[in-house]
């Protein structure tokens, strides 16, 4: 029972993170997930001191406020034009995180909240906090919390799909059309903060980053359509969450860490093997293009000297690489490929264009 619940929590957490993370990576503010997930600590701590309850909704409000404040602070710093955005991000979140850590240390004896828990989370304990209503056990609190956040995220994306799409891909046009990209940006960042605080309880603030960035990054290599990207990210996120859970079981290791590891594996696989944008496909395409260009060059070279006195010398197979400045191996490869595709024929060690080859050469020169 607990096993299933843990996996369910992991899946909704991963789904919520991946959905919003897609927009973060498309807007090139992926590192905002890192910044926000750390910077919300003081907000959480203050709210926790007030309520003394880790599941209180006030924590979410505190975190959301701090998250938006952080985004605004980075923007204000950048606006002064005294520091660049990346530098502002680089020191704002550690400063806020430090305030949180010092606050916790000050009251360490009195409250139960430690930095380990915030930073690393512990999914295995999540099902122990039950949500009961009128004496009936309705399941773990974390599941309700994360499920609720996931639903809010989905509603936000569905309601503002058009606006999000436009502001993400063409902010200038969006503001010219009166769509208020800034307002939407802050809306998105508020939800990122809310999602991060909901998720840190389960997976910790650093792995929130993995969940937000990893699955969308992999999906980004698989599709060019925003809708498909969102669905794929959520799917890949959920799959890595479940996969990570079983890896953790097998190794008897940290669940959150294994989930991040699984995300890494999924990304690595997609990065290498994606049909169009994977490294293997890209390198293969580059190699094919090289051979293709080589064959075209060969036909043009032969056509150029066809019927001239230099023809016998220029078209000899053995010395071809000297005339076109190829390596001997590449020249051999090009010739045998050109022979196989019927562009040239070999007679007594010299090459002659076929009709097909001549057409190819003429076309290549026009291009």
């Amino acid at each position: 029972m607990f096993q299933l619940e843990i996996q369910l929590i992991a899946v909704v957490t991963a789904g919520a993170c991946a959905l919003l993370g897609s927009f973060l990576i498309l807007r090139r503010v992926a590192m905002m997930s890192d910044v926000i997930s750390h910077a919300i600590l003081p907000g959480i701590v203050v709210a926790f001191f007030i309520t003394e309850d880790l599941a209180s909704p006030l924590l979410i409000i505190g975190a959301a406020l701090t998250g938006v404040l952080t985004v605004a602070l980075v923007e204000v710093l950048e606006r002064t034009r005294l520091v660049r955005e990346d530098a502002a991000m680089g020191f704002v979140f550690p400063v806020l995180f430090s305030i949180g850590v010092i606050l916790i240390a000050q009251f360490a004896g009195e409250v139960h909240l430690d930095v380990d828990a915030v930073l690393l989370g512990e999914l295995a304990f999540a099902p122990f906090n039950r949500f009961t209503w009128g004496g009936t056990d309705l399941g773990p609190q974390a599941l309700w919390l994360m499920g609720g956040i996931f639903v809010v995220d989905i509603l936000f994306v569905l309601l503002f799909f058009k606006e999000l799409k436009l502001t993400t891909f063409d902010a200038g046009l969006a503001s010219a059309l009166g769509f208020m990209p800034a307002a939407l940006h802050y809306g998105l960042m508020t939800l990122v903060s809310v999602t991060a605080v909901g998720a840190f309880d389960a997976v910790g603030s650093i792995l929130v980053v993995a969940l937000m960035i990893g699955p969308p990054a992999a999906a980004y290599l698989l599709t060019d359509r925003l809708g498909v990207l969102l669905v794929l990210s959520v799917g890949l996120g959920a799959a890595s969450a479940v996969g990570g859970y079983w890896i953790a079981r097998a190794l008897d290791a940290s669940i959150a860490g294994s989930m991040a590891g699984a995300i890494g594996l999924v990304f690595a696989f997609v990065f290498l093997a994606a049909p169009k944008r994977g490294v293997v496909a890209v390198l293969r395409r580059r190699r094919l293009q090289r051979w293709d260009v080589g064959q075209k060059m060969l036909t043009v070279h032969l056509l150029h000297h066809e019927g001239t006195p230099a023809e016998p010398r220029e078209s000899r197979v053995a010395h071809l690489h000297e005339h076109v400045r190829w390596t001997p191996a590449f020249a051999r490869g090009v010739v045998s490929r050109a022979e196989r595709s019927g562009l040239v024929v070999r007679q007594d060690g010299t090459l002659h264009l076929t009709d097909v080859g001549r057409t190819v050469a003429q076309k290549a020169m026009v291009e």
Partner: protein, 372 residues
């Protein structure tokens, strides 16, 4: 408080350690900030975790040098992966940073669970790398930090010209036939060194601030690379010292976060008070400019009024001058400023006229400078 530095052995050790760290990371962080790679430090420090855990698992030793080598290797591999991902696919730099950072850290956590299960007594110190524990620094750590940091700074000085070039105009450097790729790798490797010597002291999360904050602050005080690097080193040392002193004095104040707060404070002060660039200076200058402009406008108005008369020195009552001005409240004050400059004079109480100098000044002012 300062005196404790000379009498309290623990405090002295900690302070020396964090000062060495502050100087190294402040100076090297400057290059990262200038190259818009401020967040690379954050990524490297997180990515170092699996290296630390693996080094311990393989050697069973937690000597600082062993762990530092493991951390450096992992950090270096992470940097390599980040650049390869960006080069070989359409994934953007920020995405690659976040991905590698979090995945490496996750793998590090998994490895840490193995370390904990191995149950050896010496594993206790590894948690330091997560959150840092400056108070636990011992002499051996400080010596390691100082030697590695000193070496890194030495290499920085040796390759100063190349680093300067790669930071400001890498394309030009490449065109000169200097291997900018190698320089880039070397500079990043030095950054890795600075980071790994800081991990034990301030932990993975806060390391980013120790690199970026001193540089961002120092940048406000000078436009000269050498000076910025030196000032950043100084600020790093200052933040470290302040953190060590404050946390030694008050109970329940961890050193790492205090250092970061001190660094943040230095940034805030620099942004406001740094000469020329600072916000305070900027608004003072803006106010001065506005003042100067207001004074000129009053002079121009008086000149325009005097054009209606045969005598350009015709006196005008202040009410007339006020009614000709947009910003009416400041007219009396501005007239007095003009009088101090000798450009107007009060002929009778409440009546003002242009002087000879004032007339010349107004004419040159109002004559078009460029004639077409």
């Amino acid at each position: 408080m300062i005196l404790d530095l000379f009498t309290d052995y623990t405090l002295r050790t900690v302070a020396l350690g964090v000062i060495a760290l502050g100087i190294t990371s402040g100076a090297l962080g400057t290059f990262a900030v200038l190259r818009r790679q401020s967040l690379l430090g954050d990524a490297i420090s997180h990515a170092a975790l699996p290296g630390v855990a693996l080094a311990f698992l393989l050697t069973g030793s937690k000597a600082p040098l062993v762990l530092v080598v493991g951390a450096a290797l992992a950090g270096w591999i992470a940097t390599l992966l980040i650049t390869s991902i960006v080069r070989l696919s359409r994934i953007k730099y920020d995405t690659a940073l976040g991905l590698i950072l979090s995945v490496f850290f996750g793998v590090g956590l998994v490895l840490l669970t193995f370390v904990q299960r191995s149950g050896s007594a010496s594993q206790a110190g590894l948690d330091q790398f997560l959150f840092g524990q400056a108070a636990a620094l011992v002499e051996q750590d400080v010596v390691t930090m100082a030697v590695l940091g000193g070496l890194a700074l030495l290499v920085m000085l040796l390759f100063w010209k190349e680093f300067k070039l790669v930071s400001f105009d890498a394309d030009f450097g490449q065109s000169l036939g200097l291997g900018m790729r190698m320089v880039d790798v070397l500079l990043t490797s030095l950054l890795v060194v600075a980071i790994v010597i800081g991990l034990q002291t301030v932990g993975v999360v806060l390391m980013s601030a120790i690199l970026v904050a001193p540089a961002a602050a120092a940048r406000q005080w000078s436009n000269h690379l050498g000076r910025v690097v030196a000032i950043a080193g100084g600020f790093g040392a200052l933040a470290g010292l302040a953190g060590a002193l404050v946390s030694s004095r008050a109970a329940h104040i961890p050193t790492g976060p205090t250092i970061v707060l001190a660094a943040g404070l230095i940034v805030g002060m620099s942004l406001v008070f740094a000469p020329n660039r600072g916000l305070a200076w900027r608004s003072v200058r803006r106010w001065q400019n506005r003042q100067k402009l207001q004074v000129r406008i009053v002079l121009a108005n008086l000149y325009a009024l005097s054009q209606h008369h045969q005598n350009p020195h015709h006196p005008h009552p202040i009410a007339t001058i006020v009614s000709a001005s947009a910003d009416q409240a400041s007219v009396p004050f501005n007239l007095r400023v003009l009088a101090d400059l000798g450009w107007v004079r009060e002929t009778a109480p409440g009546t003002w006229a242009l002087t000879e100098e004032g007339l010349t000044e107004a004419r040159t002012e109002l004559t078009p400078q460029n004639s077409y």
